[in-house]
C-alpha cells in the first residue's frame, strides 16, 4: 500500500460551481485513505453555515439558472452538495476549518456553523497544516 498522502484545500467561494470541486476532491481523497484538511474562508465560509450548501446559487448572471443546473446535476447522477458532505464526513479522513477573520468580518457565530466544523483558525494556523501536505489546492 502507498504511504498516506495529505491534501490541503482552501475554499474561498460560496457559489454552487465552486462548492462542488472541493467536496468531490475531499470525499474522493478521504475514500482513498488520504488525510484531507479544508480551510473555508471569505465567501467559502457560507458553505459551512447550517443549510449553507442547500442555499448555494450559480454566480453572477448565471444565478437565475441555478434551479435548472441543480435538476441537471440530479438527472446525470451527481450527488447533491448535502449528500456529498455526508459522504465526505463518513470517510472519517476529512476535517473542516473555519477562518476566524471571516467569522468577524461577516458576523458569523460558531452556532451558525454546522457542528462538524473541526476547528477555527487563521492563515498561519492553516498554512502550518498545509506545509506538511502533498497536495495543496486553492478553489
Amino acid at each position: 500500500m502507498a504511504e498516506t498522502k495529505k491534501m490541503a484545500i482552501v475554499v474561498h467561494s460560496g457559489t454552487l460551481d465552486k462548492a462542488y470541486p472541493p467536496l468531490m476532491l475531499a470525499s474522493a481523497g478521504g475514500a482513498s485513505d488520504m488525510e484531507v484538511d479544508i480551510f473555508f474562508t471569505f465567501w467559502g465560509l457560507n458553505l459551512l453555515k447550517k443549510n449553507g450548501l442547500k442555499k448555494t446559487k450559480l454566480p453572477g448572471i448565471m444565478r437565475p439558472f441555478t434551479g435548472m443546473m441543480k435538476r441537471k446535476i440530479k438527472k446525470v447522477g451527481i450527488a447533491s452538495l448535502p449528500e456529498l458532505l455526508k459522504l465526505t464526513l463518513e470517510t472519517e479522513n476529512v476535517r473542516f476549518y473555519a477562518c476566524t477573520a471571516t467569522m468577524d468580518l461577516m458576523n458569523i457565530k460558531k452556532e451558525d456553523l454546522i457542528p462538524e466544523v473541526t476547528g477555527y483558525m487563521g492563515a498561519a494556523g492553516f498554512l502550518d497544516i498545509a506545509a506538511d501536505c502533498d497536495i495543496q489546492l486553492f478553489i
Partner: protein, 80 residues
C-alpha cells in the same frame, strides 16, 4: 483473466457519477473481511481510470474488469 472471480458482495453503482462509485465502494469494502471480493457495477466512464488507481492507492487488489450489460464490472479483493 477470462473467467469471472467469485464474488462475496455486489455493489450496484450504475447511474452514479464521480466520485460516488468510489465513495460507495470504500464504504462497502470497510464492512468486508480481508480476502473477500467486491464486485462493483459502474456506468461512470471515469471509473475505468479511477478503480485501478484507487485500488493501488488503498492497497486493494483489482482482480479484473469485465464489460457486460452496458456497464463495467470491477472485481476488487479486499487486501487492506
Amino acid at each position: 483473466m477470462t473467467e469471472k472471480p467469485k464474488t462475496d458482495v455486489t455493489l450496484d453503482a450504475r447511474g452514479l457519477q464521480c466520485p460516488l462509485p468510489i465513495l460507495k465502494a470504500k464504504k462497502q469494502i470497510k464492512t468486508m473481511e480481508m480476502g473477500q471480493v467486491l464486485e462493483v457495477l459502474s456506468s461512470d466512464p471515469g471509473s475505468k481510470e479511477d478503480f485501478p488507481r484507487w485500488c493501488n492507492r488503498t492497497g486493494n487488489e483489482l482482480l479484473g474488469v469485465f464489460e457486460e450489460d452496458g456497464c463495467n464490472h470491477y472485481f476488487i479483493k479486499k487486501q487492506a
